[in-house]
Symmetry: C3
Subunit: 500 residues, 3 copies
């Protein structure tokens, strides 16, 4: 017995030595010297990260399925040091517009997907094909969506019995829509700041702070890995838990988190998730978790206990998405390309469907691609559910997509009638289609109610799709829109009679 205990002790001390053998680079040591007192929270955070523990040569020793890195050999200088401050903040200084001289080093403030690609190449490349990476441009450069932003964020005034809408300013946009979509970070000069170490010079950034998924970075790259893997722990656990996605996918427009919470999956996660392993790579169904989170179905590498791959990791989340069920007027097949600003419908509007719902096929994936993606997703379901169960589930989702599109069409017809009869001003009058009360009711029909109903169906959180921003509100909204139109047209008629 004594011998075994001694042996164990020796083993552990060797282990400790082995870990200590992995070095912090001299550059990073210098960073830490000051930042341990300048920003103690993030230093402590980083110390808890895998980055602080493992060098690239160690990471590459692991079997492929267990790796978190996706390059085949250690990048220059990273083989035998842990990934510390300097390893990320001094990489390729010439490509970062925000590089500045800081205590003898060329530092850049904003670490970008290009920097992360040094070790996580595949993930970065996939993400660049992900709709999210284009979230800035897809909102900013689509004139229709941008007029929606203006109609929400612009200051309204009231004078002479009329409301007036000013365009939204950058500061408000950065604090609202573009918080999630991402801002454009640009260097606007240099400024001196009084620090613990005396006066220092720093680049002045516009659009900062921001960690939006489609952020335009000072090196021209798009996105922010810290949207889902927050600095400086970069924990896979945060990204795999539903609370991570909830940061942007919770509001009435994208109630993914709310729906998950009332699903059976969410119920099991809430009760038992505390005992699951959210750090294991690969992620083994049954062993590491017994119900999926968002990441399981949409992104993670999932295996069974034999090590067989159920789903490949993909940071191009659309790989498992046949439909686009939110954000647009009608649900439709997923767009072919992440840059949706190229899309135009027959009426010339930058929309993937006509105003009356017909999809603009040339920009959208075809049925074969839809089937392929559905199959990829369903392989995850198959780990627990029978084929019949899965088919029944997706049959309902397809039916619900059809149903919600029809209910949106009905609301659209009421709006089109209002425009036609002069009860509201629309496209023909060269007016925003989002700025009047009746138009805002129409927006809620699809952006809130139809979306919510589809999410509830897609993730089997049906309770959410009835009363909580779902079918109840779709049905009520149509009645209220029709009521309003009747009142308005009647008022117009009376006024005409009176005016005579």
């Amino acid at each position: 017995m004594r011998h075994r205990i001694l042996a164990a002790l020796i083993f552990f001390s060797l282990l400790v030595n082995a870990v200590q053998a992995t070095e912090i680079s001299g550059k990073t040591e210098e960073c830490l010297d000051c930042h341990i007192s300048a920003t103690p929270g993030i230093v402590a955070d980083w110390k808890k990260s895998l980055h602080a523990e493992v060098s690239m040569s160690e990471a590459l020793k692991k079997p492929k399925l267990e790796r978190r890195v996706s390059v085949e050999q250690a990048p220059d200088g990273l083989a035998d040091v842990v990934i510390g401050c300097a390893e990320c903040h001094t990489i390729s200084p010439q490509t970062h517009q925000d590089t500045f001289e800081h205590n003898g080093y060329q530092i850049h403030i904003v670490v970008t997907p290009n920097d992360c690609a040094t070790c996580h190449k595949t993930e970065t490349e996939e993400y660049a094909q992900n709709l999210m990476s284009q979230a800035y441009g897809n909102l900013k450069n689509n004139p229709l969506y941008h007029s929606l932003v203006d109609s929400i964020n612009g200051i309204q005034t009231f004078e002479n019995m009329q409301t007036k809408l000013a365009p939204a300013d950058e500061e408000t946009n950065a604090d609202s829509c573009f918080y999630c979509h991402g801002t454009k970070i640009e260097v606007k000069g240099m400024a001196s700041r009084d620090t613990q170490m005396g006066i220092m010079e720093f680049p002045v950034l516009s659009g900062w702070p921001n960690q939006g998924v489609g952020r335009i970075n000072p090196d021209g790259s798009k996105g922010s890995c810290s949207s889902c893997h927050p600095r400086h722990q970069f924990s896979i656990e945060v990204a795999r838990k539903p609370s991570g996605c909830a940061e942007c996918h919770k509001g009435p427009d994208v109630p993914a988190y709310q729906v998950y919470n009332v699903s059976k999956h969410g119920n099991i996660y809430s009760a038992l998730g505390k005992d699951w392993d959210f750090k294991a790579v690969p992620w083994t169904v049954g062993k590491d978790f017994t119900a999926p989170t968002c990441a399981t179905c949409h992104i993670s590498l999932v295996t069974d206990e034999d090590g067989d791959v159920i789903a490949e990791r993909s940071h191009k989340m659309s790989d498992r998405l046949p439909f686009r069920i939110f954000g647009l007027i009608y649900a439709h097949p997923f767009p072919k390309l992440p840059d949706t600003t190229i899309i135009k419908n027959k009426a010339g509007l930058p929309l993937p469907t006509e105003l009356t719902g017909e999809p603009v096929a040339e920009y959208l994936i075809d049925e074969n691609e839809q089937k392929k993606r559905l199959k990829t997703m369903q392989k995850v379901c198959r780990a627990c559910h029978s084929q019949q169960w899965i088919q029944g589930h997706f049959k309902r989702l397809k039916h619900t997509i059809k149903y919600t599109n029809q209910m949106t069409l009905t609301a659209t017809k009421i709006l089109l009638t209002a425009w036609e009869k002069g009860a509201a001003k629309g496209l023909a009058q060269n007016d925003s289609i989002f700025n009047e009360a009746i138009e805002k009711k129409w927006v809620e029909q699809w952006l809130f109610f139809a979306n919510s109903t589809r999410f509830a169906s897609a993730m089997a959180g049906a309770d959410y799709g009835v009363f909580a921003n779902g079918r109840w509100y779709m049905s009520k909204n149509i009645q209220e829109m029709a009521d309003w139109l009747e009142f308005k047209l009647n008022m117009m008629k009376e006024n005409k009679l009176t005016d005579r």
Copy 2:
């Protein structure tokens, strides 16, 4: 010291052997042989369950208070095997319409309360008397409620300035209301499917998947134990945590979970619940938990540290419910019987109160029964609170029931006036009372706002009862309904004048 360590090792190895002595049946072994790779997630899930660990003879060795089973002796064949796949999925094959031949066994897909009753007899019998077990019929077979379903789930169209409502289809109903209430599962023939094991035949089920509380099963039984005890871990922990109930009791119509979350009890659970024991049977106040969850007050066997019973376990949850505070137009004494389709008010409507609020006494429990139930509930409160505290709390709840009923009556009077004056079409016009905008506002008065206010009072989550779908909205809704009526009647008057 060495001897003690050795003794401990021997003890543990004996323990391990003891557990291994409990066998997996040969039938279940055969199931597992394929399903460990066909559906690895649920096999792993089951392995973590008590079912996979304990045989009935072991379960029956426990003192009565600690048992999870409620038959007095081990059912045939279950004495010395753990409860595996075959033990549930092959039971009484002749009674299950969905039994089919599968690799030489007579398997049924849908495990039902009747199957669970083999070991959990009392719980199944109690549940059959629980309102929930009738959730399918109570919604489907009550013409008034069913017209509510139609008004929410039916497709609406807009042509010639009129909206038109089609009846709801089965697929949409299954994806919304009946997801929680339960669908009717029927066998619609057989179909071949291509599986890992080659082509196989399976029964085709309608209404599938579903785990609603009042599901009509292929053996004629009602309900689904996996609504609260999700397969295949069947964890009591899931059922005892509020997230379990939240699956159906969260939306604006039944905001139990939301209210609990802002109550002191919910606050304590959120902060400290991680350290509580959710698996202990019986559940000992103070030792296992220090604030109640839904289950504590409504269903669980609760004892004190001396082993004295504070509350008996009952799956007939109405045992602790004097009032019915949600889902109906007015709060009222609990119905006598779980099948509420037998209820008719004086006006002939299938409602437990008149439209003006008077309860239909003959179908509802009397004051004595109410007192008895309140007492049963209050015994749980007494574990921590003084008599005065409890009486003060329930006095407020009764006051709030009265207050909310009055606010609903006011909304009803506005609607009755609208019907009377022809501003809307109601009972007298043989029209649905749920399909117009003003009627939907009226529905929200009771189904959302009065309900929420009562829940907030009942569970002391008062914050929810003011601004979050509570009193604020009741007061605002009345003003808006009155405004609408004024506008509408005025429009009708003007139109008459104009028409002359």
Copy 3:
């Protein structure tokens, strides 16, 4: 090896003896004798508390930074006993109106801040300067706010085509607004109750139960420490977790918890908080936690790993609050004093701004004080974030305060026009400004939508500030108010024409 194990055992047994040396007082032993069976839940709860473990002399042995108590020497009789039932419930009997004779002791029911001050003097004094301590009077004694309470909680009736509003009753108020704000607890006589120990006499309390933050206690003190430190565990963990604040700060009027949940901080807390130490005093950034909760930024003593103080503990939460961003019509500098009933604007209304938004400077802190408070708050941010990050963040908040105030002003202008033109009755007509539908829409503009938008900005939970009760609703509400005014004025015009 054997020797080490033995040494460890001896050390542990000494430790156990040391703890046992701290005594439970004889009085408390007597309480426990009965209450262990009368109210077992709270006795078990207390046993898990620090109060049950530590005497004042032990507490005072700790270094100052680690102390939870703030007196310098042990109060009479508390030096060598743990803080049990009697220590709190028999303190200063003559000052408590609810003191009664109970088994030979002078007991009071309601333990008050004055009682807690015996050991936690500084915290109590700070809390008395905290806005929360005045929450009862600030709502009850401000005629304008009180008319808001009436308009929400009063029973409305509908007769002769008119709605009528009765003033709110005490019972409803206690079950809604004053649940959080606090009720007034008064002794209304004595009553006999049948207990396990036979018939006993107890004081009858009005306004009971209540644990509101501004509760008026039977000893004249204000507040309830158990609002945030629930009895009888008094856990600092509960107070430090966001769920604690959520009890009152969740509804649409104060969505702090909702916003935190969709912030990066909330995301990290949700995923990783399970591993943090919520009991450590002082609370060390990086070591004990890696993202802030409500308490971190607003109240807690926060240090770095060198033991340097980042933020002093203060139960006067306004110490870190330059702005008041919720509850009032416009955001404005924080009030100088916690009693806001003294405030009057130029128009004579008890408001800190004019109806058109101009702040009433004399009652509000000046720019210097605002800067000082902001700096105190920002020191917490500095533990992780750069100066530029923080400045960018607060620049946005200030912009959003300005933006939301403008959007409220626009809604106010519509309402003022409605009053002026007789479309609604306001101040000039001596009518409540909260009781009509259009006025309630106006209230939502600031109480729900502008508030939510500001919270979303302040805590970087931007997603909440767009669609979830934020900017979307502000913009829509203005359009709906303008629509309503047009309809109403038109109806008035037609009616005049018709009447001629």
